[in-house]
Symmetry: C2
Subunit: 336 residues, 2 copies
């Protein structure tokens, strides 16, 4: 009788570098492990100030590594890469590189996380540049992912082509059989847009491994007609941040309306008005969408937003757990 061999998902958690305390991040990670109902358990190694972390882990299977210095944006890059400047982030990535863990989750600086990951963990064979990828909810329950969201600025058509292959493979690992791939562009006529984007259209259309759908304009993203949207890191980051800013504006308007509506509805019962408005305001709570993966690295690395709270960081950790469960790295390696 074959015994079920448990594959422990070993994840390094960088507890420093975020706006919130390590306490919130640790609790968020523990929440994610509790909520996860996968057959494979999760074992965390927390990097940071041991005296803060250890008390939160009583009688758990998780580990602590004392690495109390946060990676700082102004740390000299060479010194960080060479290990002359240590940080909780670097120690976590080194653990991944050494095979002591299978994933890293950090809320620290994206640029530093990228540089350290490329240097210590490296990219998958054939991958020239990792890309930041993130999942989004669209209308009618659809979802899409978009990459590159900021790791690379001004890439050539061939790199956009590889982003498409990585993104498509990652989407397949999440269950989509034949993901529809689109290129982010302005206008749908073929002659519009920057030269690399137009050239990439030809490459994607000619690649049988991809189901290329054509260009998609950023105002159509949330219709969810494409499963994977490919862009240069600058354009992708602009699109992501502009959408976030607009949703923040909508939430601001909702909050203002909520405040004045409470007065209106006092005679009729506060709950009636508040709940729908709060539901909408929270529907796009950025914390619930926290977490972006650095795709193309030889290991799972998830970047959490620096402003993540307990709930948000938990979402990022859940993403890392999911990437391990679906063997995303192996699929991306095969896809390029």
């Amino acid at each position: 009788m074959l015994k079920h061999v448990s594959n422990v998902r070993r994840i390094a958690i960088d507890t420093l570098g975020a706006d919130q305390s390590a306490n919130a991040l640790v609790r968020g990670a523990l929440d994610a492990a509790t909520a996860d109902n996968g057959a494979d358990s999760a074992r965390f190694t927390f990097f940071g100030e041991a005296r803060t972390i250890a008390p939160l882990l009583a009688e758990s299977r998780h580990d602590v590594v004392h690495s109390p210095r946060s990676a700082r944006v102004d740390d000299p890059l060479r010194g960080s890469l060479r290990g002359e400047v240590q940080s909780s982030m670097r120690a976590a990535i080194a653990a991944l590189a050494a095979g002591r863990v299978d994933a890293v989750v950090s809320a620290g600086s994206t640029g530093t996380l990228l540089a350290l990951s490329r240097h210590l963990v490296g990219t998958l064979p054939g991958v020239r540049r990792p890309a930041i990828v993130k999942g989004f909810g669209a209308q009618a329950g659809r979802r899409f992912s978009m990459l590159d969201l900021g790791a690379n600025i001004g890439v050539a058509a061939a790199q956009l082509h590889q982003f498409a292959l990585m993104g498509s493979a990652a989407a397949q690992s999440e269950g989509l059989v034949s993901p529809a791939v689109a290129l982010l562009n302005i206008g749908s006529e073929v002659r519009k847009g920057p030269a690399p984007v137009r050239a990439a259209a030809t490459l994607l259309a000619g690649d049988d491994r991809l189901r290329y759908r054509g260009f998609v304009e950023p105002d159509k993203l949330f219709l969810g007609e494409a499963d994977v949207v490919v862009a240069d890191g600058f354009a992708g980051n602009i699109a992501l941040k502009a959408a976030e800013g607009a949703l923040g504006m909508a939430r601001y308007l909702l909050g203002r309306e909520l405040a004045s509506a409470q007065g209106d509805s006092a005679a009729l019962g506060n709950g009636v008005l508040r709940r729908p408005l709060e539901r909408i305001r929270d529907a796009y709570n950025p914390q619930l969408y926290n977490g972006a993966q650095l795709l193309g690295l030889a290991g799972v690395v998830v970047k959490s937003h620096g402003s993540a709270d307990r709930q948000g960081f938990g979402c990022a950790v859940a993403q890392a757990m999911s990437a391990l469960s679906t063997a995303m790295i192996a699929k991306v390696a095969a896809g390029v």
Copy 2:
């Protein structure tokens, strides 16, 4: 005794090329004239199918020019520029070039409008490239304008510099004494972003005519800390469309909530819930923000969205009227 000389604002209205009928566009323009309380009256010349337009203008001071063919996206460009292919759009722009009107408003193809305007009207002395500029509402009643929103792709730093001068001059013509100017970029650290953007930062910072504030990320746009935001046309269009798409998503969620809330509140009175939700849903009704000016041309040219309805087109016409009242062209000419 000096007699007040009335400056009639003469505006050419292209009634074709939009999704909606000429009827809606004409009525929208007439609404704008009625709503305007400026000292100078507005006189329209409507270009399109005369038999459709004339009945709407009974006993008004407005004119009609019979030019029943719409500019089409696949019209040969050279033929259109040379006048071998006539359209209502071309006729309207030709009227501006000939000085028979002072402004043009069209809902037709942006690319065609730009090409025809540059060819027939030309740019202001010293202006290399016109840019698409648009105004936006931000939090706490603030406003900002952004350019270029799609006329130029991949410009150099010197062109971004000129966009800043044009945008700043336009904002001054609208009453801002010393507009705060920012460059759209990813990340606020100086070393981030594409090379032209980083080089433009130096140019703007060194120009005493500008109050340069630094970079602004797209998620901070709606905080309204900058009065004028400058970007390459590709990035500007991405930001604009992504924000529109996100707001469309928010309105979709609100609409869904509205539909289910009607059931909830039936026992308590339908109006209570509906009004706040509709207020928010309509607060960012794209129709109310319709209209973008092609800045840098030697005349006022306003581009309406192709999907504009009567109300939206009226907003675009109001923008043209306002640009004439504030002598925007003269100020932009002086600003560059």
